[in-house]
Every structure is written in structure tokens, then in C-alpha cells.
């Protein structure tokens, strides 16, 4: 399935292998995985809220746009919501193409759009306190290059 949203943990390696196996014609496969970081060592959890319904259609639209813009064999987007532990995979995109330039560009495109156009909101829980993660201006700016 090219777009998947859910609470359940996923295994990036197993997803990469399944994705690659399904696109035998492609020479180049790029993956990106986002992991819950704990830079200060005090993160208890990351909580991800989303907009059920809109999330799935937004991700599908982003994925379809990537398939149109780049010479791809396939592309997929996985994204979790709910409560995630430090070190857990948050999301993953993978792209497959005959040539590496398309696979790389499409993966970056998917990430840039997903960051600023898919309705997810992250909250960091540390020492009992929960703070919403602020959007970064550079994420919005990243869209301008496409």
C-alpha cells in the first residue's frame, strides 16, 4: 500500500525490503526515516496528533504528485500518530526509480511536502510537561524549490 497512517509501530528495514521486492524494475531505491530524537536525554515520549481523513487524502495527493513529477517506479509514505517512545520510527518515505537522481529528488519532495502540508502535529513530553513542536520557517521555505 502506497500510503499508510496508523498508531502501530513499523519496522523500517522490513518496509524497505518489501517495497524494494515489489519494484523489481527499479535500479535505485531511496528511503528516509524519521526517528524520535532525544537530544537532551530527558524526552519521555512524542505525541503525534493528526486530522483523520484529511491526513490520508493529503498524503495520497503528495504521493500522486511525486509520481507525476518524477520518473518513478513507485513511492510510499508511512506515518504514525499517537504516543511514540524515543528512538522509535515516526515515519518513512521510500521511492524507486530507474535513475538515482529521480529517486533522491522525489524522496526530498515527499518529505518537504509532508512536513508542511500533511496535518500532523508533534508534542514533546518531558518531565511531565508537554510542549508543541514549533513549525520551522525553513520547512515552509523548502517548498519553494519545487
Amino acid at each position: 500500500m502506497s500510503v499508510r497512517v496508523g498508531e502501530a509501530a513499523f519496522d523500517p528495514g522490513a518496509e524497505l525490503n518489501a517495497f524494494t521486492a515489489a519494484v523489481a524494475g527499479a535500479g535505485a531505491v531511496v528511503s528516509f526515516s524519521g526517528i524520535v530524537r532525544d537530544l537532551q536525554g530527558d524526552l519521555e515520549a512524542m505525541e503525534i496528533e493528526h486530522y483523520p481523513g484529511m491526513t490520508e487524502s493529503a498524503l495520497q495527493a503528495i504521493r500522486d504528485e511525486a509520481m507525476t513529477r518524477f520518473s518513478l517506479t513507485d513511492a510510499m509514505i508511512l506515518h504514525r500518530h499517537g504516543r511514540l517512545e524515543p528512538g522509535a520510527p515516526i515515519m518513512m518515505v521510500a521511492t524507486a526509480a530507474p535513475h538515482r537522481a529521480d529517486a533522491f529528488a522525489a524522496a526530498e519532495f515527499l518529505m518537504d511536502y509532508l512536513k508542511s502540508r500533511a496535518p500532523f502535529w508533534k508534542k514533546e513530553v518531558r518531565a511531565g510537561r508537554a510542549d508543541w513542536v514549533a513549525a520551522r520557517d525553513e520547512d515552509e521555505d523548502a517548498l519553494k524549490r519545487w
Partner: protein
């Protein structure tokens, strides 16, 4: 009747994830004007629109978007997925 949905700090600040209102607002901007008048929490949330995004029927839109035929309008902060 219009269904309103709120997410992230907008939801927390308003103390609710959704409400249903009666409105004649023609655009999202008009609707925001009406919402500001409801109470202090609404006035606070919609005071600075730089930190607010809107979706009409689950499509991200600008504040000048028409509400003609709209069933659901959502307000939330800039997204932080990925």
C-alpha cells in the same frame, strides 16, 4: 450548519475538538471574524493569524477561501509532521 474542527494548541486553548455553528459567513476570513466574538478563548486563538492554518472540507486553503457548500472547517497551527 457548519462543523468546526480544532487541532493541537488551538484545540487545547478552546477546550474542545469540535463545535457546530450556524453561520452565514461567505469566506474563512468572515468566519474567523464571527468566531473571535464568541468568547475570550476564541478571541485569543484567532488574534494572530500568522500562526493559524485553515482547511475547508479537509483541503488546506487560504483565509480568502469561499465557504459556499462547505460542511467542515478546521483550524490548526502550522503542521509539524515528518
Amino acid at each position: 450548519m457548519l462543523d468546526l474542527r480544532y487541532f493541537a494548541w488551538v484545540r487545547e486553548r478552546l477546550g474542545t475538538a469540535s463545535e457546530r455553528i450556524e453561520t452565514e459567513a461567505a469566506t474563512v476570513a468572515d468566519l474567523i471574524e464571527e468566531l473571535r466574538a464568541i468568547d475570550e478563548a476564541h478571541a485569543f486563538v484567532f488574534a494572530d493569524l500568522g500562526g493559524i492554518r485553515a482547511a475547508v472540507d479537509q483541503e488546506l486553503v487560504g483565509f480568502d477561501a469561499s465557504l459556499d457548500g462547505a460542511r467542515e472547517v478546521a483550524f490548526f497551527p502550522p503542521m509539524t509532521g515528518g
